[in-house]
């Protein structure tokens, strides 16, 4: 699976973690590799091996100055490619210095995110084109949080539409980034949706249909782009949200959560709500990406709020409602003990596609779906369709990025 992830550009950190030239380096762990990211004196981004080639000291302690990151132990200095550019103990212009190079990966800013590609440099794909990252800056907002479980069990929540009417039912009524739409009424009016799973070039579309009016269905359509990008079907004119689940190691992942609007700036109120941890975002411990509600405080569970019906599980906030249950499964859920039902077909199909992509890459070198940037240009949709309509056909345009056209949503 690690090799599969190395075919893609992945979010490595938020751009504002390196807010200015020569800002302090940041530890980054991805795909079980420890690295440091830094932004040099010329504004160039680098992602290199965390540890100095000399004695293995962490470059997190490094001095980021004069176009390079210097280990404070003995002064070895590296540029953004990991190339040693100064080894003070060696003679001036030493050939040894030119021979020392740490592992490094490209780091590129697109939208609010710094993206990296950790695969074979010869096969580096074109840059990502996800709409949330390419709209003007005032139309998008991205946050991230540390989730203490394997990425797959977290990601599977993103294509599991049937939990929304239960776990997030409180949020549909009260969350400022969700509430007040006709779609919510349809959502709560029919707790037994029908599901339809359709292949897409980059992954899947999972459609959940509920009764709307007498001759119509309310469809909520969730795209998945391999390996780990999902979008939540929109609600009214609220911004559109979605996630990336990025493996840190086998037992931890980063959840990147974004909100954007395809055609208008986010309002001050909306951005404030996102910063306060509403919608798909979380309220984090200041200066960290660890949620305030976490396993060490039992997610601040409020049994009285649960009893009153303010929240369904007693945990506040949509993000932490998901994370608390996904983490409760253990660091890596034992899938031999699960009992899936046919309503989990989206999850079943996604696992199968991932497994087949891993095998095709391993056995035949086939590039997996989701690498091609054209696969990134998808949207979620929430639409009312005549009962006889097939969502894939009827929503073909709604499910693609259309410049200057708002999301399809009720």
């Amino acid at each position: 699976m690690g090799e599969l992830f190395r075919q893609y550009w992945l979010p490595a950190l938020l751009a504002d973690e390196l807010p200015e030239d020569d800002s302090p380096p940041v530890r980054v762990k991805l795909l079980s590799e420890r690295m440091v990211a830094f932004r040099d004196s010329e504004g160039r981004y680098g992602l290199i091996d965390e540890f100095c080639a000399h004695r293995g000291a962490s470059l997190w302690f490094g001095r980021n100055e004069e176009s390079g990151l210097r280990c404070p132990y003995h002064g070895w200095k590296y540029d953004i490619t990991g190339q040693a550019i100064e080894i003070p103990s060696e003679p001036e212009n030493s050939t040894f210095c030119s021979h020392v190079k740490l592992t490094s990966y490209p780091l590129v800013k697109i939208g609010d995110v710094l993206w990296t590609y950790m695969g074979d440099p010869e096969k580096e794909p074109p840059l990502p084109e996800y709409e949330f990252a390419t709209v003007p800056p005032d139309q998008t907002y991205t946050s991230k949080r540390w989730q203490e479980c394997n990425w797959l069990q977290a990601f599977e929540g993103g294509i599991d539409s049937s939990h929304v009417s239960f776990l997030h039912s409180g949020g549909l009524k009260s969350d400022p980034l969700f509430k007040g739409t006709k779609g919510n009424d349809y959502n709560m009016g029919d707790l037994k949706p029908f599901f339809e799973v359709a292949d897409s070039e980059g992954g899947l579309f999972v459609g959940a249909r509920r009764n709307a009016e007498e001759d119509t269905y309310y469809w909520r359509i969730t795209p998945w782009v391999m390996p780990c990008f999902t979008m939540v079907p929109p609600r009214g004119d609220h911004p559109v949200h979605g996630h990336f689940w990025i493996p840190i190691d086998d037992e931890n992942c980063w959840t990147y959560s974004f909100d954007y609007h395809p055609v208008r700036p986010l309002s001050v109120t909306e951005v404030q709500a996102m910063e306060d941890g509403h919608g798909v975002h979380s309220e984090n411990i200041p200066g960290t990406f660890r949620p305030m509600a976490n396993k060490d405080n039992d997610y601040l569970i409020d049994r009285a709020a649960q009893k009153r019906g303010d929240t369904y599980s007693g945990v506040k906030g949509i993000a932490m409602q998901d994370a608390s249950l996904q983490e409760s499964m253990g660091p890596i859920v034992d899938r031999t003990k699960e009992m899936l039902v046919s309503a989990d077909s989206g999850i079943i199909k996604a696992r199968q596609k991932l497994k087949r992509a891993v095998e095709a890459l391993r056995d035949k070198g086939i590039t997996p779906p989701g690498v091609d940037p054209s696969h990134h240009r998808v949207r979620s949709a929430a639409v009312v369709l005549p009962r006889e309509a097939a969502f894939v056909e009827a929503c073909r345009d709604d499910l693609m990025v259309r410049e200057g056209v708002r999301q399809s949503s009720v």
Binding site: E251, K295, Y299, G330, M339, S342
Partner: protein
């Protein structure tokens, strides 16, 4: 400010890899009655192949004849044919079913989908539909099955049937 102790039952301890090893390790009683029914000749061939694999309580069937020819007989008149050639009634098979998976290719018996779907609905049996054919040719079959399958998936690969049944522990 009081510091909450981390108790044995706290999430911090309970979710650790070490603690998860104590999850009860005995099989959970679950699915006992998956019924897989082919709705056209192409699906029957797929089911014949798949039925040879080792399954739990799953039973595999074809329609014994076109359901639209049965007139107003309804579900009581629908006869299935097992992969061993034995015939049985649909309703007898639904008695202890907990999910019915209808498989079709490009010529699904629409009347059968309707009758089986309705019979499952009144008995609160979950239904799923799998349409296995070139994805460019499945639209009409998907449309036929949509009202009658709570979960519907189209695919060009018959391994999807195996994967779904495996995941459902059929």
């Amino acid at each position: 400010m009081t510091v909450r102790p981390i108790l044995g039952s706290s999430c911090a301890k309970a979710t650790s890899a070490a603690e998860m090893r104590y999850r009860i390790d005995r099989p959970i009683r679950g699915r006992r009655g998956a019924r897989i029914v082919g709705l056209d000749a192409g699906a029957d061939l797929i089911i014949e192949r798949i039925a040879r694999e080792p399954w739990g309580h799953a039973r595999f069937f074809a329609l014994a004849g076109p359901v639209e020819d049965l007139g107003d007989g309804g579900s009581a008149s629908v006869t299935l044919r097992g992969v061993d050639g034995e015939k049985c009634s649909l309703l007898a098979q639904l008695d202890d079913a907990d999910v019915v998976i209808m498989v079709a290719t490009i010529a699904a018996d629409a009347a059968a989908a309707t009758v089986i779907g309705a019979a499952c609905t009144v008995r609160a049996i979950m239904t799923a539909g799998l349409v296995i054919a070139d994805v460019a040719r499945i639209d009409s079959t998907v449309a036929v099955m949509r009202p009658h399958a709570r979960v519907l998936m189209g695919s060009g690969d018959e391994r999807d049937v195996v994967d779904l049944l495996t995941a459902l522990r059929a």
